[in-house]
Amino acid sequence: MATLVTDNCDLCRFTDCVTVCPMVCFHADDKMLYIDPVVCIDCGACIPVCPVRAIYEVKNLPPDKHHWIAINAERSAALPLITDKSQPLPGALERKKQLGF
């Protein structure tokens, strides 16, 4: 079990979650974040701070998002850690609005 990032993060990358994670388990590419399921302790501290509700516990994952389990595992293993908050991607606020938040 772990917590994971899904498609709403794509092209947003607000990174509020990074500042609250007690385990340092977020990794990033130039589009979004991913959680390392080996390091994540499933505390869920990141879930309520995501402005676009991209983060789920596996047990609450909608059926159409199950493929994100494998994506988080694969991408986090290949990408560098992100340890501090950074600027959201250009257009993130617009995308947030499109997503209904």
Binding site: T19, V20, C21, P22, M23, V24, I41, D42, C43, G44, A45, P48
Partner: protein
């Protein structure tokens, strides 16, 4: 020393100026940070004769070596000043994210004194400090002010604000941060109000160098993972992450620990069934609402649907719904939650408020307060609507009873007379929290002898030995029997250790709730040493806590503490209840236990540290 900045921001609100003061290492080696550092500043800058609303009172927001670590519980911060309820030095704490961000601003503390000539708020952005006009925010509730300051300054700021109660000097006014966490006890919000200070906003991006970053990370991740695993191993109805402090009802009811009908009775089955546990989660649609980096997640965010009591916001803690529910015989969870959130917005301590409400309800029952005195409200036990309305009157300090109740039960009962001091469940001017002395006598001893914040369940939490099965094996408390809850044997030593433990952890600064899920003194030792390089043994840790306790006692003495204060405890707890788990139990022998505690601490029979004790702790110069 690593893990601290050696920097304190001092703000003079009268002059509208600020200055950075360098703090030498030896201050941290003595008092560590947080509550200890705040006590040091009171000692240094606030002479005898200073009172709570005196502009010279120092209000300190302080962090310690743990802030900035990715350790659950390390977003905490301490606040301290001379309190308007107990009229002595007092510290209290809150979390959310303010503590972490204050540290990121490159500061160990903000020490505020003076009185602004108009309402203001303070902005700290790394090295930039501004005192800004808050006239437009005066009169707004604490959440509105919080949102307004963030709208003006940006949402990268963490903000602490007061509500109308602080502005109007309610003696138990609190300070909120993040709309979820409160500097609750001892009326420090009224100290802010007396300074015309509506809020403090902080942000920063500095990282404080640690002695051994890898060791600090290791200590943090081990503790974080262990705490999550322990919580997840519990049945759902005993998971902190699921229920928060609302699970306390199920733990406390079988112990006789609940405050029922102004601590007069022991039976309230309807209340026990409805206030707390899974009914709390289901009725309030509660979800975890973590402070920064917290894996325990005791706070709840709620969405309450109700014609009169509907709201979205913070769910009440155990202390809130116990004192405003059980204590006034109200079993309507939604009404109690709503009243608690009202109190949060006015920014009043819900523990004291609950004690005040119960005193008013009992005074009404006994005919000392009539309907005409209380705005036509019927203060009959269990009347939720009346409790909600009276909460508003107190928050607004409405003329008459609302104003009087804002003074707290000590002053209100002296004013009302008629024997009402007999059911004023307070001592030293502060109402007693929701742990029943009849259920474990050590609570009585803790409250009578506490020096950090008067009678206080979190500044000497020895009740946790029984209510939470918390021991301190590293300091020799490694086994207790249930029957010992009604024994004075070993109580003095245990109580002294828990006082020192609280001072150590409040100075580190860390959230004490972590201990409920396996966080130990050993974890704290590893973390302090990794952060600071102090290389403390367990004895050194105790010595630090002991030293802070003694400094606080010296401050108590400076601001007017008398030995008789410790013995003037609430009469109510000496009246037994006839039913329930604590039937017939009253803390007889308490006077002797207090004297035993003095002796155990190395204090004279007058309750004052002896010269030898001060010498052993290196505190000789602080006695002056």
């Amino acid at each position: 020393m690593k893990g601290v900045w050696n920097k304190v921001l001092k703000v003079d609100l009268t002059a509208g100026t600020s200055v950075i003061e360098r703090v030498p290492d030896h201050v941290y080696e003595y008092f560590l940070g947080g509550a200890g550092l705040a006590a040091y500043y009171l000692w240094k800058e606030c002479p005898a004769g200073t009172t709570a609303f005196d502009p010279e009172n120092r209000l300190t927001f302080a962090v310690g070596p743990l802030q900035g670590l990715r350790q659950s519980g390390a977003a905490k911060w301490s606040a301290a000043a001379i309190s308007p309820s107990i009229n002595m030095n007092a510290d209290s704490g809150a979390t959310a994210a303010f503590g972490s961000v204050l540290k990121q601003a490159g500061l160990d503390a903000i020490v505020m004194h003076g009185r602004a000539n108009r309402p203001v708020y303070i902005v700290v952005d790394n090295d930039r400090v501004e005192i800004k006009d808050a006239s437009a925010l005066w009169g707004k509730d604490a959440y509105e002010a919080h949102d307004a300051i963030r709208a003006l300054e940006g949402d990268r700021f963490e903000v602490a604000t007061i509500g109308q109660a602080g502005e109007r000097l309610v003696r138990y006014a609190s300070i909120q941060t993040g709309k979820k966490s409160f500097v609750g006890r001892c009326g420090l919000g009224a100290v802010m109000g007396s300074k015309n200070l509506k809020g403090v906003a902080v942000t920063g991006n500095q990282v404080c160098p640690l002695h051994d970053q890898k060791a600090a990370d290791k200590a943090s991740t081990e503790a974080n993972a262990r705490m999550v695993a322990i919580d997840m191993s519990k049945p759902e109805e005993f998971r902190i992450k699921r229920l928060g402090t609302a699970m306390a009802t199920a733990l406390f009811a079988p112990q006789g620990n609940l405050p029922i009908k102004n601590y007069r009775e022991a039976d309230f089955p309807e209340g026990v069934a409805k206030l707390g546990g899974m009914p709390y989660v289901e009725q309030l649609n509660a979800e975890p609402w973590p402070c920064r980096g917290c894996v325990i997640q005791c706070h709840n965010h709620v969405t309450v649907e109700h014609e009169k009591y509907g709201y979205v916001g913070k769910g009440p803690e155990y202390e809130s719904f116990a004192m405003m529910g059980f204590n006034v015989m109200i079993d309507d969870m939604k009404a109690v939650a709503y009243a608690g959130e009202l109190a949060n917005k006015y920014c009043m301590d819900t523990i004291s408020l609950g004690g005040v409400l119960a005193w008013a309800f009992e005074s009404y029952e006994k005919g000392l307060i009539g309907k005409d005195d209380c705005y036509g409200l019927d203060l009959e036990w269990g009347n939720a609507d009346a409790m909600v309305e009276l909460t508003k009157k107190i928050g607004e300090r409405a003329e008459g009873l609302g104003h009087l109740l804002g003074e707290g039960t000590a002053i209100a009962s002296r004013t009302l007379g008629g024997g009402s001091q007999d059911w004023a469940v307070q001592m030293k001017g502060q109402e007693i929290a929701a742990h029943n002395w009849r259920a474990q006598y050590i609570s009585a001893l803790n409250y009578c002898t506490g020096v950090a914040a008067g009678p206080n369940h979190e500044r000497g939490n020895s009740q946790h030995i029984w209510v939470g099965h918390i021991l301190l094996p590293e300091w020799g408390i490694d086994h207790v029997e249930n029957e010992e809850r009604w024994s004075w044997d070993k109580a003095a030593d245990r109580n002294a250790k828990f006082h020192d433990y609280c001072n150590l952890i409040n100075s580190a600064v860390h959230c004490k709730f972590m201990e409920f899920r396996g966080y130990t003194l050993t974890d704290l030792q590893k973390t302090i040493n990794a952060a600071t390089g102090l290389d403390w043994t367990m004895d050194d840790m105790r010595r630090c806590g002991d030293r802070i306790t003694n400094l606080q006692k010296l401050l108590n003495m400076r601001y007017g503490w008398k030995k008789s204060d410790d013995f003037n405890y609430p009469k109510r707890f000496m009246e037994p209840v006839s039913t329930g788990p604590a039937a017939g139990r009253i803390p007889l022998g308490l006077d002797e236990a207090i004297l035993d505690y003095y002796n155990c601490r190395g204090w004279s029979s007058d309750g004052k540290p002896t010269p030898e004790t001060l010498h052993n702790l290196g505190l000789q110069e602080y006695a002056a």
